[in-house]
């Protein structure tokens, strides 16, 4: 006892820490446990890349690489199967293009209104409502496209197919509006007020301030939100599966049926393409293409928002 009182504070702390053996064991164990948790997300990425790569290689041992990229015919279910990826890419890009034609003007308009014109009260009400829109499952949007939007479009455009690119394209666009509106609004709101007031002091109207000052300042964030929107549209599955049809064609006619990369994957896994057949492996080749497309888009968005960010 007497001995202990002579120890310095740091020595006593050391003694205490050593004394509680289980505690120091936990101290050493927990960081490892948390590290393993964090490692799972890396393993997930490795798992995705590994499976896609591995099965894609198997696919290309059956189907020549050149056919996949050079052929413009995708008929995997024929007795003489054709595996040219372009019709699926065409369908995917057409849906994404139509979606962006809808989502960019409406999303950006909503972002400008909420950030520059709306009162605090309106903004606080409207933003959560838009978030609700973003939380609706995509199968619900798909149902809406097939049973509501398509009949309306068919009554406007005679001769339109039940399954077409226009209806899911529009609905994918509607689904993306909240995302673009929210991200662009964030980018514009973070432009400091002093910059706006400087322009107002020079006699600019609110529109001039928005278009000539705020939007250029927030451009990187706005463009990044568009790129992320394209990525979402490319990866969207249920809307295009339900309402887009299953006809991989090289058409640019939006009233006809198309097939996207995502819809093809669902179609094959729902059908009875046996395990180990070329058709089974083809979903991995398509999945790989889809993964590369969206990964490039996401990296691009990341790069744009990093590289061109304005510092105030």
């Amino acid at each position: 006892m007497e001995d202990r009182s002579k120890l310095s504070v740091s020595e006593r702390i050391e003694q205490r820490t050593k004394g509680s053996g289980s505690s120091s064991f936990t101290e050493k164990l927990m960081p490892v446990v948390f590290f393993i948790c964090a490692l799972i997300s890396i393993l997930t990425t490795v798992g995705i890349v590994f499976t896609l790569l591995f099965e894609t290689v198997t696919f290309f041992s059956n189907v020549p690489f050149a056919d996949f990229f050079a052929s413009t015919e995708w008929y995997p279910f024929f007795s003489d199967p054709q595996y040219g990826i372009w019709p699926l890419v065409n369908g995917t890009l057409m849906i994404a293009g139509i979606a962006m034609l809808v989502a960019v003007p409406f999303g950006l308009g909503a972002a400008i209104y909420l950030s520059e014109y709306a009162s605090e009260k309106v903004r606080k009400t409207v933003k959560p409502i838009l978030e609700v829109l973003a939380g609706i499952p995509t199968i619900v949007y798909g149902f809406f496209a097939l049973t509501f939007v398509t009949p309306i479009l068919r009554s406007i455009i005679p001769g339109m197919d039940i399954y077409n690119a226009l209806s899911p394209g529009i609905v994918v666009g509607v689904m993306i509006i909240p995302m673009i509106a929210s991200l662009s609004e964030d980018a514009m709101s973070s432009v400091p007020n002093s910059i706006r007031q400087g322009a107002f002091a020079l006699g600019a109207t609110r529109m001039e301030v928005t278009v000539k000052v705020v939007m250029p300042a927030a451009l990187s964030g706005i463009v990044a939100s568009f790129v992320l929107g394209v990525s979402r549209a490319i990866g969207e599955t249920m809307i295009v599966t339900v309402a887009g049809g299953a006809s991989p064609t090289m058409t640019v006619d939006p009233t006809g049926a198309v097939q996207t990369m995502t819809a093809y994957i669902v179609q094959v896994t729902q059908g009875d393409a046996g395990y180990g057949t070329p058709i089974y492996y083809s979903i991995y080749a398509v999945g790989m293409t889809l993964f590369i497309f969206t990964l490039m888009m996401n990296l691009l968005a990341h790069y744009i928002s990093r590289r061109f960010r304005e510092d105030y």
């Binding site: 927990m30 948790c37 964090a38 896609l52 990866g235 249920m238 889809l290």
Partner: protein, 299 residues
């Protein structure tokens, strides 16, 4: 001379006033256009909800909940899908919660600032952008085929956990980093170790934010169709799962199945099924909002 000068000044002034009024008109038009864009976006939500409500509400009855799927639209129900969704959540909730919070604690409290930590962060934000159907392919290959789980509840639950993991990590990190350093220092000053501080101070304080993020992530998982469809979830099941390795169907998968049928009656019960799905999501979201407003501590 003086007279001419003022006349010229008057002209300039008039032009300026004219120009200003023209610019003001453009400003009003611009405001109107942007307002219309906002109103249209909200209107689409209303049209979608009203359309589904009016179509499905007449078909919403008790039979829809207590019956199994059937070839007759009148007898068809969601029982297997409801049970399947609950089973999926029983797997996905604990797995994604533990992994998500663990990752967040590691990144916020333990991770050294080096290249690996950087890679980890970039990786998580990239995972958030991977299409859900690709997660389906991952589940199909790793869980279903490689690990031999088949298209089972546990395979589906794990696939969904990995899918929503980034959402939980981001929300948990935000909640954990919002815990003030003072509070942690106070804990250390009382002689608590790092783990004790994390377990008794940081996690309880951050819990409301963590739970809010987890519930929102799970409500996203409930609505996902593509990954479990690709994994091999069945679209026609007439039994509730009896264990982790049972085959299953889920609410959105059942709705997808009904949507794809040509008969009008199936479209109507699909709408009724969507109402139940949306009510479930609304319920979960309101729990999240409740937790956020009730338990969130402000320092």
């Amino acid at each position: 001379m003086k007279f001419a000068n003022t006349a010229a000044q008057q002209r300039v002034h008039d032009e300026e006033v004219q120009g200003l009024s023209r610019r003001n008109i453009w400003n009003k038009i611009f405001k109107g256009v942007c307002f219309t864009a906002t109103a249209f976006s909200i209107l689409m939500l209303l049209v979608l909800l009203i359309r589904i409500l009016t179509q499905g509400i007449g078909f919403l009855d008790w039979g829809l909940i207590v019956n199994f799927a059937s070839r007759n639209a009148e007898d068809a129900g969601l029982l297997a899908a409801l049970a399947g969704t609950i089973w999926l959540m029983m797997v996905a909730a604990p797995v994604s919660f533990i992994l998500g919070v663990g990752t967040a604690v590691y990144l916020e409290e333990y991770a050294p600032s080096n290249k690996f930590t950087n890679l980890l962060q970039t990786n998580i934000s990239n995972l958030a952008g991977v299409p859900s159907v690709v997660f389906g392919l991952l589940g199909l290959t790793i869980f279903n085929r490689l690990m031999g789980m088949g298209a089972s509840v546990v395979a589906g639950g794990l696939t969904l956990s990995l899918l929503v993991l980034p959402i939980i990590v981001v929300a948990s990190r935000e909640a954990i980093s919002a815990v003030p350093t003072d509070v942690k220092h106070a804990s250390y000053a009382m002689g608590a170790t790092k783990w004790q501080t994390i377990f008794r101070i940081v996690i309880p304080t951050a819990l409301p934010g963590v739970l809010t993020g987890t519930i929102l992530a799970l409500s996203r998982a409930i609505g996902e169709t593509a990954p479990i469809l690709v994994l091999g979830a069945l679209t026609y099941v007439a039994a509730t799962p009896s264990g982790l390795l049972s085959s299953f169907t889920a609410m959105p998968v059942q709705i997808y199945n009904w949507t794809g049928r040509p008969q009008q009656e199936f479209q109507d019960i699909a709408a009724a099924g969507i109402i139940i799905l949306l009510l479930m999501l609304l319920f979960m979201n309101s729990i999240a909002v409740f937790i956020r407003s009730k338990f969130q501590k402000r320092f």
